[in-house]
Symmetry: C2
Subunit: 356 residues, 2 copies
């Protein structure tokens, strides 16, 4: 399979030769046509200060959010180390895909916790759980036919945070006109720097707007799939122990598995494939009011910095991606060829399984 | 390489599942945004009667063309069987890529010849050469970097047919606005049903408008590349023998080769690859005034029917395609994987070379 390896490496190198190593920055929102040109190339961009005149940007300090939301219950993801939807090794070193403990909390209590957490000196954070108000990350299913029944389970800004919805524009005109649809989901995300979203991809065109604090994106194009060492991981979840409340990992009863990236662009020498060194991650930091177009099927790892108010807050809209044309097919083909070449590295050791 | 074969077949089947088996028909020209949506999906469409108000459509009968062009010399492609830029076997059965004999002729004499040829009963056509006023077909080079130096050699409507240019709109606004460029070439094509253009692809977004007669397109998407049995063929050219003027094949001195499709959708059982049976060619016939968007990298075989005036005539515009994004990379990857799998069938016999 020497030639197949060469073909995979050539695809990644070819892509980098033909595309810039930076995220484009626009000075204003694109027209629908300009947006469609980016969608067509499946390339991200940032618009600085795009949301300057959103009511959310003007009003969403801690006091305002407490007043509007009060003690309304919101869904909170709780993890021991800020690792919701992430790869965690069990006691035998076996990697699992672990979802957070999800529990409803009164909004004001949740916000107090995040605020205290942000103030808490690092040496005292040990043993203190991390809380994140988030929409469950959608994981790419193997086929778009399956996906049509599998819309994001959480659309939290139009559900539990409905009271805040009027502070967000009714729609993002350039995206609605270009994609000819409204978003499948509009989501609110509140947390602090202790929460990190592991590298993953979504089947959605994504418009992401930072309201408070900063968001730090590390991005990889779909053609860099051979770099990220996707593996079928057993699914698990954090659950609190009955007595202590301490979070422990519980495997799914049916032993369900799910393909997930195990390579981390911030630990580029660990859990590599023979192609990981060819990855050229793009980086983008969103400041308050900045907007990111994150194209469908791009891998992204996301971390954040709390703003002056002691939390980071963002809003995003997911639009169903286009499955017609050749883009979905091309990505599936790359995945199938990578699978056929069995270029999978066992986690966590650097043993290459090269069964040809 | 069983798995690689499976991956290639799955890509073709996946594409067909996600895309319609017909060419979309629009009732009017698309807006720039609508056009960009088609470009983004790399999918063809036909606009019926799009060119109804073009002066070319109103005026271009034989008398008008003779009056405007007179005896101006134009480049004419001459072949024994209407097979310009086509695969022809030499005396040993070896396939060659044969270009036509190209020679300047006074326009009115060329048009007289085509007209007589159309009137000529089939039984008397034997031994009578076929003439076609065409732009040399651009053949996809292996890399876009090379391409940038390799614009189409012929841009005949802005050169030798300059007198007819005022009868064509100055630009096609939806294409200019969406692609943000003017065409690299605008071409005129005049011939009759004896000329057929063999299955090939171009590195251009192509807007094709039928003025007189009909054009019959057979189209294959880029993902069907594994079906068309591309082979490296030695280049040759028809040249007239000194005494008789009879056209004979002369190989290129340097033995240059060129990759070219050897499978013919009209002979689907001949010169097949293991994937040819998965092809689902789309068909479209353009009547006078109809417009076709032929997306970049689509394979097309083109035949024609003369109109009442005894000839078929069409105009097209080639726009440089987008090499950024993942589309070019995906096509190159498919070609490389196909090459690595060595799924090449020797021409003309049905011997599969399956060197793994």
């Amino acid at each position: 399979m020497e030639n197949i390896d060469t073909a995979i490496a050539a695809a990644i190198e070819n892509y980098h030769e033909l595309n810039a190593a930076v995220v484009d920055e626009l000075v204003e929102e694109p027209s629908p046509l300009e947006f469609m040109q980016f969608v067509s190339r499946n390339r991200p961009f940032v618009v600085r200060k795009a949301a300057s005149d959103w009511d959310a940007l003007k009003h969403w300090d801690a006091q305002y959010l407490r007043r509007v939301m009060g003690s309304e219950p919101v869904q909170v993801a709780v993890t021991p180390r800020g690792n919701a939807d992430a790869v965690v090794e069990d006691e035998n070193g076996q990697p699992l895909f672990v979802q957070p403990h999800e529990t409803p909390e009164p909004f004001n209590e949740f916000l107090d916790y995040v605020h205290q957490d942000t103030q808490c000196p690092p040496e005292q954070q040990n043993g203190r759980n991390v809380k994140y108000a988030q929409t469950r990350t959608s994981i790419s299913p193997p086929s778009p036919i399956h996906l049509f029944d599998d819309l994001p389970e959480n659309d939290n800004l139009r559900e539990e945070y409905y009271s805040l919805l009027p502070d967000i524009p009714e729609s993002i005109p350039f995206a609605r006109l270009a994609l000819e649809k409204e978003p499948d989901a509009i989501n609110l995300w509140i947390g602090n720097e202790r929460s990190v979203t592991a590298l993953h991809k979504d089947n959605y065109e994504n418009i992401y707007v930072q309201i408070r604090g900063q968001k730090h994106f590390v991005l990889l194009s779909p053609v860099e799939m051979p770099c990220v060492n996707e593996q079928l991981l057993e699914q698990a979840r954090y659950v609190p122990e009955q007595e202590s409340g301490k979070l422990v990992i519980e495997r799914s009863e049916g032993g369900e598995t799910l393909p997930f990236a195990t390579w981390d662009p911030d630990e580029p020498g660990e859990r590599t494939t023979p192609f990981s060194h060819l990855a050229k991650p793009l980086k983008a930091t969103l400041e308050e009011g900045d907007m990111l177009y994150l194209p469908a099927m791009w891998y992204h790892k996301v971390s954040q910095t709390a703003g002056e108010e002691g939390f980071a807050c963002a809003v995003n809209a997911w639009y169903d991606m286009e499955f017609a044309g050749g883009f979905w097919t091309a990505n599936s083909f790359l995945r199938d060829v990578m699978g056929a070449a069995s270029k999978v590295v066992k986690y966590p050791a650097l043993q290459m399984s090269d069964e040809r």
